[in-house]
């Protein structure tokens, strides 16, 4: 049972950080803070570009290998979005604190050694992008992400958007895809057994969710029903969140 709740975000919630965002969607809530460009430590500084440091902290327990893995994936994606060449020898520090993950009420969870769910990655990336926009760190483009599971239904496969922990347990494979605002594929991670055909379906579905035109033109109002995608319009959400933030900031104009 996937509850398609709309994503929610609040920006600038941490008063001492350069930029911050709290994002919740599909049961995940992540708070992100961005500080930078600030001075990098000697061991981290690069001569011609900024160092992007991502730190992922789970809600409970100490982070382990899984968190480091998520950090390295996010770091490589975010480094492509941020204009790192503008700030040589600097550090852009992004900390993502997981506050809430959807619980599986049918299973006793092991919490101290629990590793983060793979499908938290879209929430982490989205929070990071929102926090970077809130900090006004110069970027090449914005990005949107989504998680999709492929499960067996009868004798054919079906794609589930924003799978719940129950869905993930029973699915064949889970995929996380992210696209930039220029419709380019930024991130593609998969777990499980799947065929190339499955991946193509997943790609198409993800592209529809992440790359729907942010500004609805006239006559597009009915598209949602026809599309039968059922997922949230991530780009529109990103744009409307930032638009209200900018309008509030520039209230004096």
């Amino acid at each position: 049972m996937t509850a398609t709740t709309a994503p929610e975000a609040a920006l600038g919630i941490l008063p001492r950080a350069d930029g911050s965002a709290k994002y919740s969607h599909a049961g995940y809530t992540v708070t992100g803070s961005v500080n930078g460009p600030i001075e990098a430590q000697r061991r981290d500084e690069h001569a011609y570009e900024a160092h992007v440091d991502v730190i992922v902290r789970p809600a409970a327990g100490v982070g382990g290998t899984r968190e480091r893995h998520l950090e390295s994936i996010l770091q490589s994606s975010l480094s492509q979005l941020i204009l790192v060449k503008d700030f040589p020898r600097s550090l852009i520090q992004i900390v993502l604190q997981v506050e809430n993950s959807p619980e599986n009420d049918y299973v006793d969870t092991k919490l101290v050694q629990a590793s983060l769910n793979f499908s938290i990655m879209p929430a982490l990336l989205q929070t990071a992008v929102l926090a970077l926009l809130s900090a006004a760190v110069p970027m090449r483009a914005t990005a949107t992400a989504t998680a999709i599971a492929v499960a067996q239904q009868g004798d054919h496969k079906k794609t589930i958007i924003d799978p719940s922990p129950r869905d993930i347990e029973t699915a064949h494979s889970v995929h996380v895809l992210a696209f930039t605002s220029h419709d380019e594929l930024l991130l593609a991670e998969s777990e499980g057994d799947f065929t190339v055909r499955d991946w193509d379906d997943v790609y198409e579905t993800a592209k529809r969710i992440c790359c729907r035109s942010a500004r609805p033109k006239e006559g597009m109002a009915m598209v949602l029903d026809e599309d039968d995608v059922g997922g949230p319009d991530m780009r529109h959400f990103l744009q409307s969140t930032m638009e209200s933030k900018v309008a509030a900031d520039l209230h004096w104009k």
Binding site: D18, G36, A136, T180, S181, Q239, M242, V246, D249, L250
Partner: protein, 260 residues
């Protein structure tokens, strides 16, 4: 002068029709935009795109907290230590130090230069800011040799308050009330007819002075500590609560009542 409220996100394409053209002046790009040769202008932050056809310039208006040194900005720096030939100053927390040469003061020679202690505040201008170098400051205009209000601020006088960069920019505007929507300082100084202050300063307002740094720091100095606290609170509250002029009037009245 300003165009319609066009909201932009990083990486969006800008309609070429919006880009101003001018017969004589080349197009100048302000903060928030970058030029991708040959003819693409792309925003790098989320904000409002503003164009000025008269001066043939365009920029993105946005608010942020982290100061990035830009040549020509007036900043409020804190001296961290004394190095040979220059003072090392901090413009913001956790960023590399900026250098302020010992002789970059009005009428300074090796024998008669001002002695600054670590922790002292200096009102300076950014002389050089390049991404590959640490920023450099000066307290004297290179062209005229005059200080024009720049220089050290005596220790033990007043306090510094942190504000957002957009708010500092509004305070530094020539007509901060009309163009920037910030009237608190005028109200507290007794220059707003709708707010009665009843203080010791000229015009029946409070007596204080301020120095606004583009790096998000405002120094407020006064004989009375209460005045400093009042002005500081008014500024920070206006910034954080995003108050309009009416809200600022109510805030000033409330603060004056509380701190009588």
């Amino acid at each position: 002068m300003a165009s319609d409220h066009l909201f932009v996100l990083p990486g969006e394409t800008i309609d070429p029709a919006l880009v101003p053209t001018h017969k004589k002046h080349p197009l100048r790009l302000g903060p928030g935009l970058r030029h991708i040769p040959p003819s693409d202008i792309v925003p790098t932050v989320a904000g409002q795109l503003i164009t000025n056809p008269l001066k043939n310039s365009m920029w993105v208006e946005f608010n942020s907290q982290r100061y990035i040194p830009t040549t020509g900005d007036l900043v409020l720096a804190t001296v961290t230590r004394n190095a040979p030939e220059a003072y090392l100053c901090s413009l913001s927390a956790y960023t590399p130090a900026a250098t302020l040469p010992h002789l970059a003061f009005e009428g300074a020679t090796k024998k008669t230069r001002p002695q600054l202690a670590p922790g002292q505040l200096v009102y300076a201008r950014v002389a050089l800011a390049h991404r590959h170098m640490d920023p450099e400051l000066e307290c004297v205009s290179a062209a005229t040799g005059r200080a024009d209000g720049l220089g050290p601020i005596a220790a033990g006088n007043g306090c510094v308050f942190d504000v957002s960069l957009g708010f500092a920019r509004r305070l530094l505007m020539a007509r901060s009330r009309e163009d920037g929507g910030v009237g608190v300082l005028e109200m507290l100084a007794g220059q707003d007819p709708e707010v009665v202050v009843g203080g010791a300063g000229g015009g029946g307002g409070l007596a204080f002075e301020t120095a606004v740094g583009r790096n998000g720091k405002v120094w407020v100095g006064s004989e009375s500590a209460k005045t400093v606290v009042l002005v500081g609170r008014a500024l920070q509250e206006t910034d954080r609560a995003r108050l309009g002029l009416e809200g600022q009037r109510r805030l000033v009245k409330r603060l004056l009542r509380e701190m009588r």
